[in-house]
Symmetry: C2
DNA sequence: CATTTTCTTGCATACGTATTCAAAACGTGT
DNA sequence: ACACGTTTTGAATACGTATGCAAGAAAATG
């Protein structure tokens, strides 16, 4: 089997027009008569011609490529984001070029992205070196930090209101009558963790409480299990735990139930963050805060499209509302009647 | 902020050599003296130059792009595959261009892939029109059907041994003393479902059994819930269900436990397929068959790389071993002693 | 009908790199 | 010093498309 490339020249020959005419027939707002366009399209269909995006990118500078950088896909939040993002971009004629990276070789990865002449970058990776964000901005490519936030960086960001989310949880747990409220942190250098934790503490303070105990799970399944064991090794256990994301919360619940033989929420309440699909599954029924992924995607898209179209990069930050989703993993506040 | 493109010409000027020399300095096996290469690399670093992959693709026909087509990412099996695939390809200098599609507009999507001059295609989408596979093969682009199989198609395929997996489950359930063994199917037009079901029935037959009942869940969470209700609406319930994949099995377990108040595995046994991460979570502890995703990725990569390098497309099919993973969701066979 | 205006069209060129070809530089052995 | 093989180099070209420009066709206006 051999590759048989068909070019605009071939189509032009068959349709008895110039190559320019073919090119124009495929761009929406070009100056072509309906007549020739019909001829061209017919010939194109006959030959199975499709414009070569690579060549188009070369001359016009538009690759129609958006780089998406992500560290891992274990946490269901990210696959869903990628799916929605990809669908939304496809509708607009763009496509997702996927990059996976651990924190190590980010610079290399960004170099690769530049090599592909991507028109925009979405970073959903956990960490982000600030030199790197600067470099991106310097080249004039719009960058959106998704679900993270770097104050000093020139990159745009889209997040949910993690501070408010943390507050909501604090109030909910206090009203539920919990006395020993603990926190299991994610990655301490992530903005999501910082904000959720800060909002949580502020909420507790507003109710005259403080956090009872705190361990770190680093947003990993294993880390969360270990953090739970540490937390419960003390003589007196917490009666509620806010876990910095759902993914860890599942691990926490597993340890509490299976290793420590505790009932949820009778013996201890658990609240997560994200509202990934598994949170609503019967096995967990996790009370959590929903991140509005749809709205976050919309915001990301519109930031990207705007900046690509205007060919200017301006920093903008979208913060979308968080919503408490009450299920069965945490004791409910008593009815005020 | 403006885009400041730096080209090989700029580097050439600074390094006082020709553009050709710059190009050669960036390809590993070209004829350049160590001396000039050093000069070039130094100048390149100074200017922040990176070869333009787009332009390179144009002249050499190598886009270094692999299209990955997938229908949905709800089922955790696919995110994991994408992550591993992307990592493996990155190591080899390739990158993943992601396409999401429902069964509807596949033709359009394939046209788009061609437009990007991708060097290979991985289809993990549920359905695949046969005309489409043919079209791909015709253009000389290697195509790998991942976790699916179309006998008449010229495309290569990578699967696990779904027939054997089905058999293993049948034997396991019969040995576990189950008498009324049911099956909840996925998408009936998928090869995975066909093979798992065929292997399952064969396994049952080998033990002198037949399937007690059968409903269809279409590989969706909601569909599986409904299929479970149908199955249990009869006067006599099954005492074991093989669910065609894990993703549906979780839904099945939720309905059995929460709506029908059954205990698993005391009242009824459940077995899934895939061994996604959630299967090992405490909330489900699902007995299942593991698909060796790592080996499947390796096979995919080597098929792609081989065919890209040789510039010939030959059909090849890899079938990798399936393994029964015994957890707590199904009653165990009695010890033979 | 003459003239201006608006639409179409083809020619030529540019995008940034890889690669062919011939010329130049470099060694090596006599 | 010479001839010869080897390596390195630069000039030129090609990849497939989009677009500025000028010329031609058609339409509109007087």
């Amino acid at each position: 089997m051999k590759r048989a490339k068909v070019t605009s020249g071939d189509v032009a020959k068959l349709a008895q027009v110039s190559q320019s005419a073919v090119s124009r027939s495929f761009s929406a707002d070009a100056s072509v008569s309906a007549d020739t366009r019909a001829k061209v399209l017919k010939a194109a269909r006959k030959l199975g011609y499709r414009p070569n995006v690579i060549a188009r990118a070369m001359i016009s500078g538009r690759s129609r490529l958006i780089a998406v950088l992500v560290a891992y896909l274990d946490n269901q939040f990210y696959p869903i984001v990628i799916e929605q993002l990809s669908r939304a971009l496809q509708e607009r004629g763009f496509h997702v070029l996927l990059f996976m990276t651990d924190t190590g070789n980010q610079d290399l990865v960004v170099q690769q992205m530049m090599g592909y002449q991507v028109e925009g970058i979405v970073m959903a990776s956990a960490a982000l070196s600030s030199t790197l964000a600067r470099e991106c901005a310097q080249t004039g490519i719009p960058v959106v930090l998704f679900n993270r936030y770097v104050p000093s960086s020139p990159a745009s960001s889209v997040t949910s209101d993690n501070i408010e989310g943390g507050r909501l949880i604090a109030h909910f747990l206090v009203e539920g009558g919990h006395k020993r409220i603990a926190f299991i942190a994610g990655s301490e250098d992530s903005s999501t963790n910082r904000d959720r934790e800060a909002g949580f503490y502020r909420g507790l303070a507003e109710c005259g409480h403080t956090v009872w105990a705190r361990t770190v799970g680093n947003y990993s399944f294993e880390g969360a299990a270990e953090a739970t064991r540490q937390l419960c090794a003390a003589k007196i256990r917490p009666d509620a735990i806010f876990v910095a994301n759902d993914h860890m919360a599942f691990s926490v619940m597993d340890v509490l139930r299976n290793e420590l033989k505790l009932r949820i929420p009778n013996d201890i309440s658990i609240v997560g963050y994200d509202d990934v699909p598994e949170a609503s599954w019967g096995g967990y029924n996790l009370t959590t805060v929903r991140q509005p992924s749809g709205q976050m995607i919309d915001a990301t898209i519109s930031i990207l499209m705007e900046q690509i179209q205007r060919e200017t990069v301006i920093r903008s930050a979208a913060v979308l509302p968080a919503e408490l989703i009450i299920r069965q993993s945490a004791r409910l506040p008593k009815e005020k009647s």
